[in-house]
Structures are given as structure tokens and as C-alpha cells.
């Protein structure tokens, strides 16, 4: 095959084929176009204001490393006037987080950004290693995901920063859209597709500048720019991508590369149809949605992105079955725009019941929550109740995690549209 020339400069050899439009580009044109598109996303959504202090949620992985690199470049090129810094979470996982934090520390030097690291141990009194030694490996990703969301907010608060950007990419958003579609979870679908999420109680805004960037292009950008990132999977979720919605997204991309952005756009369109009372209420401006820190993925792990954990397609099938019996006395909101045909009464086409979001503060920690006690505090209560008195008990706990805790966990996850 003769080398293909670049579609933009017509001079250099094309090395990249863009998933969204099959455009064939040389390395230099690709890097420049990738950066320009992120800039366009930032300006079109007015993500930043001059002089703003912004923390980049940094895991040392490809997404947040690319985000830090691109934001530094754009901040200098277009004079955003941002004060950028890196904010990392130390989950306390020996041999995994230790190494990825080394990458973040190198990034801090490479990008000349200050770095703040907040640890689960100081925030919650538990490292993930300790959590796993107590509850076993099953379900530990739930703890990790719940703790991480609060940790980013608390880290930002400690720095006096009101805006945290995360490395969520188009594949992440498409995956979340798919999952919430399959679950029928409209409130979360609405929050997940929004580029900016803000929470009234924490005053910390979250945004995802890479929302429209394909994961494939992020990896290629990192490769062609020679960025330094960390790639080992979390040791507690070694099978995280098996049988996952992620696999489905990647298979769709193989068949039709534009599918990922198509799913993202469809998610946005559907989110617009979700009433504000359901999605958690709009707070001025378009595409700003109040959340309690749940919009970003499904509490999975392996990255600061909180990617969905593995096997969730199978888990969901089970959940959907359980949900059929879980219709409790929720505040009922009927989604309008659906003419009710009296002849259809016998069928199951009932309007979907949705739970109304009511946000308050956690009675224990003050974090935004729709329940009296937030999810993290609930999990901590279970952990602390069963904290082993001696080290010897730890191994006994491995197989049989606390039944009360398990039951509580089920209550937290199976109800559709229910935010805890």
C-alpha cells in the first residue's frame, strides 16, 4: 500500500484515521486538531473564567495525563488565565497506587503544576487495603467509587478550589448512557451526559473537557506526544473490563466508529427530555445539572474516572429482576408527552415512575446527600462496626462479609432512579 497523504496538509504521511469521520491525518495535524477541538468544547460551554483556579483530578492514567497536558497547552496558547493544579487521591492500595502516584509526581514536574494528594486513610480512617482485608475483594469497587467522589470534593475544598476537571472521555459517557438506558435510570442519565455538574451544597463544580474526545484519540495523542502515563490495572479489579458495557461500546466502535459520539449525542437528547425535578434541577445556564457526585460513572475503579466495574451486564440482569418487586412509595412524576391510548390499558405500557430528588446534607459529615446519612458514611458505619479487633480475624472475614452490610448495600443499589 502506498502511503496515504494527510487530508489537511497534503504534505506528510497520514498516520491517524479519525474514528468520528474517517479523516486521515499526519501526526502534527492530528495533535493540532485534537487540541483545537478541546478548546472549542471549552469555549462553546464557557467552562472556565479568567483567573479561575482549577484542580485536575489526576490518576496518572492516560485520560487525566492527556487532560493535564492539553489544558496546560491551551491555557498558554489562548491565555485562559487559569491557575491549574493536580489533585490526586491515594486510595491506599500498595503496589498499585504507589506506582501511579509516582507518575502523577513526575507529571507535576513536567507540567509545572502544584500537586495535592488526599488519602482515604486521612479522610475515612480506612485504606482500600484495609477495606479489602475486611470485606474481601467482592464489592470493594463500590466502596472505592463512593469514597473517591467525596475525596475529590474534599481535596478541592482543602485547596480552596471551586472547580475540578476530570478526564472523562466520550467512551466513558457513552458507556454510562448505555448503562443508564438499560437500567431505565433517567436522572442519572441526565447527569452523566452533562458536561458540567454542580452541587449546591459542596459549591464545587465538576466538568469534563474531554467529553467529546474518543478514548482512541486520547491514547493516540498520548502516544504521539510521548506522554508519561501509567497503565497497570487496579489489583482489586483485575477483570474490570470483562463482560462489561465497555466491551459493548468497543465492539460497536469496531463496526461503526462514529457510534460512540452518536450514543453520546443520543444521551444528550434524551437527557433534555428529563424534567428538571427528576434530574435534580437545573441551576441557571444550559447544561448545568445539580448532582450529588454520582454523575461520573458507576462507582467503578481503576482510575479517577470511576469507570464502571466489571461484570455489570450480568449484575444488571439480576438487578432488573429485583427491581420489578421494588416499586415503593416514591414521589410520583409522570413523564408527559405520551398520549395514553385507552385501548392499551391491558398492556404494560404504564408511565415510568420516577423518584423526585431532594437534596440535603449528610447529618454526619455535611456532604450533599438525598438521604439523612450519605453513602460514604453508611459504608463507613458498616466497616467500623465490623472493624476486626485483632489482625488474626482479618483472614476469617475474607469469605463472609457482614450480612447487615451486604443487605444495606443491596438496598443502596437496586432501586431505579434512587440516589442515596
Amino acid at each position: 500500500m502506498p502511503p496515504t497523504p494527510c487530508a489537511l496538509c497534503n504534505a506528510s504521511r497520514a498516520l491517524i484515521i479519525r474514528p468520528k469521520n474517517h479523516q486521515k491525518l499526519c501526526k502534527a495535524c492530528f495533535i493540532s486538531l485534537f487540541e483545537t477541538e478541546i478548546h472549542n468544547t471549552i469555549t462553546a460551554n464557557s467552562l472556565f473564567s479568567p483567573g479561575e483556579r482549577v484542580a485536575i483530578g489526576a490518576s496518572g492514567g492516560k485520560d487525566s495525563t492527556v487532560l493535564a497536558s492539553v489544558l496546560k497547552t491551551l491555557n498558554e496558547r489562548y491565555n485562559y488565565g487559569l491557575k491549574l493544579m493536580l489533585l490526586s487521591i491515594d486510595e491506599g492500595i500498595k503496589g498499585y497506587r504507589d506506582d501511579s502516584l509516582q507518575t502523577v509526581k513526575r507529571n507535576a514536574v513536567q507540567y509545572e503544576m502544584p500537586l495535592e494528594i488526599v488519602g482515604y486513610d486521612e479522610l475515612y480512617g480506612w485504606t482500600m487495603d484495609q477495606v479489602v482485608s475486611q470485606i474481601g475483594k467482592k464489592g470493594n469497587c463500590t466502596y472505592c467509587g463512593v469514597f473517591r467522589r467525596q475525596a475529590l470534593d474534599r481535596g478541592a475544598a482543602r485547596l480552596g478550589i471551586k472547580h475540578v476537571v476530570t478526564g472523562h472521555n466520550a467512551d466513558d459517557v457513552a458507556e454510562t448512557v448505555m448503562m443508564n438506558l438499560l437500567r431505565g435510570d433517567l436522572p442519572r442519565l441526565a447527569r452523566a451526559t452533562s458536561i458540567v455538574t454542580a452541587s449546591a451544597a459542596s459549591e464545587i463544580k465538576r466538568s469534563k473537557p474531554l467529553k467529546y474526545a474518543y478514548e482512541k484519540e486520547i491514547v493516540l495523542y498520548a502516544h504521539h506526544k510521548g506522554l508519561d502515563y501509567f497503565t497497570t490495572e487496579c489489583i482489586y479489579s483485575p477483570e474490570a473490563f470483562r463482560g462489561s458495557a465497555r466491551t459493548l461500546i468497543k465492539s460497536l466502535e469496531r463496526v461503526r466508529p462514529s457510534a460512540i459520539l452518536d450514543v453520546v449525542r443520543s444521551g444528550e437528547d434524551m437527557a433534555r427530555l428529563v424534567p428538571a425535578e427528576v434530574s435534580g434541577g437545573h441551576r441557571g445556564g444550559k447544561d448545568v445539572i445539580v448532582n450529588e457526585g454520582e454523575a461520573e460513572g458507576d462507582g467503578g475503579c481503576g482510575s479517577a474516572n470511576g469507570r464502571a466495574s466489571g461484570g455489570e451486564m450480568a449484575d444488571m440482569e439480576k438487578q432488573l429482576l429485583e427491581n420489578d418487586g421494588a416499586r415503593d412509595n416514591e414521589t410520583e412524576i409522570t413523564v408527559n408527552g405520551h398520549k395514553h391510548d385507552p385501548n392499551c390499558n391491558k398492556s404494560n405500557r404504564m408511565p415510568k415512575k420516577l423518584r423526585k430528588q431532594q437534596m440535603g446534607k449528610c447529618a454526619r459529615c455535611g456532604y450533599l446527600s438525598s438521604q439523612d446519612i450519605c453513602k460514604a458514611c453508611m459504608l463507613l458505619e458498616g466497616l467500623n462496626k465490623n472493624r476486626p479487633k485483632t489482625q488474626i480475624q482479618v483472614s476469617v472475614e475474607e469469605e463472609d462479609s457482614s450480612p447487615t452490610l451486604t443487605r444495606r448495600m443491596e438496598g443502596l443499589t437496586v432501586i431505579p432512579g434512587h440516589q442515596t
Binding site: 500500500m1 496515504t4 504521511r13 497520514a14 498516520l15 491517524i16 484515521i17 486521515k24 501526526k27 490518576s59 492514567g61 492516560k62 485520560d63 487525566s64 478526564g167 472521555n169 467512551d171 466513558d172 478514548e215 482512541k216 486520547i218 491514547v219 493516540l220 502516544h223 504521539h224 497503565t231 497497570t232 490495572e233 487496579c234 474490570a240 473490563f241 465497555r246 466491551t247 468497543k250 465492539s251 466502535e253 469496531r254 475503579c301 481503576g302 482510575s303 479517577a304 474516572n305 469507570r307
Partner: protein, 111 residues
Amino acid sequence: MDTKADDEGNLPIVVEFTGGLELLFSNQRKHQIALPSTDENGRSANLAFLVRYLCQSLMTGRRKDMFVTDGTVRPGILVLVNDADWELEGEDQYELKRNDNILFVSTLHGG
């Protein structure tokens, strides 16, 4: 006569694994290998043959499904031929040349 292969009929090439795939290949990123210049049926070695060869001869991890599904490279793994996307080079039909650099990058791991 054959300028492509060495004396034993092998093509010297460099194969690299990143993004977590190195775990399947002795936890080593870069491998210098001598690929038979023809496949099982005597045709010139292409990328499809290379992938089969890697599974048989180089893979040390047990999780073959992390690398290959349905007989081809798993969706979500990027393949670069001398830095170019393999889609620009005919995908698995690309015929390997001496000193080619083939990079496999998994995008499936944490970001």
C-alpha cells in the same frame, strides 16, 4: 535472493505492548522477534499470522482473551504499524516487512 528474510527464512521485527498488554508478554514492553516469513499455508506473513504467532510463541499470561477475541485483535486494542493506524495499512492483511515496528496498545485499562 530474498531480501526480506534472514538466512532461516525469518523476518526480524519489533513488537511492543503497552496499556496493560505487556502483562501478557513477560511483563515486558519491547520484544525483538524473528517471525517466520511465511504462514502455515506458505503465504507471506501478515498481521493476522503475527497475532496467531504471538499467541502461540510469545504469550506468557493465561488471559489470551485480553488480546484476541473471535480470531482477531480484541476491540479496544489499537494496532500501530510503524506508528500508523493499521486501518491505513490494510489491517490484519498487512504483509510484514523486515524491521517493522508493530505496537499493540490496550485502551481498556484505567484512565
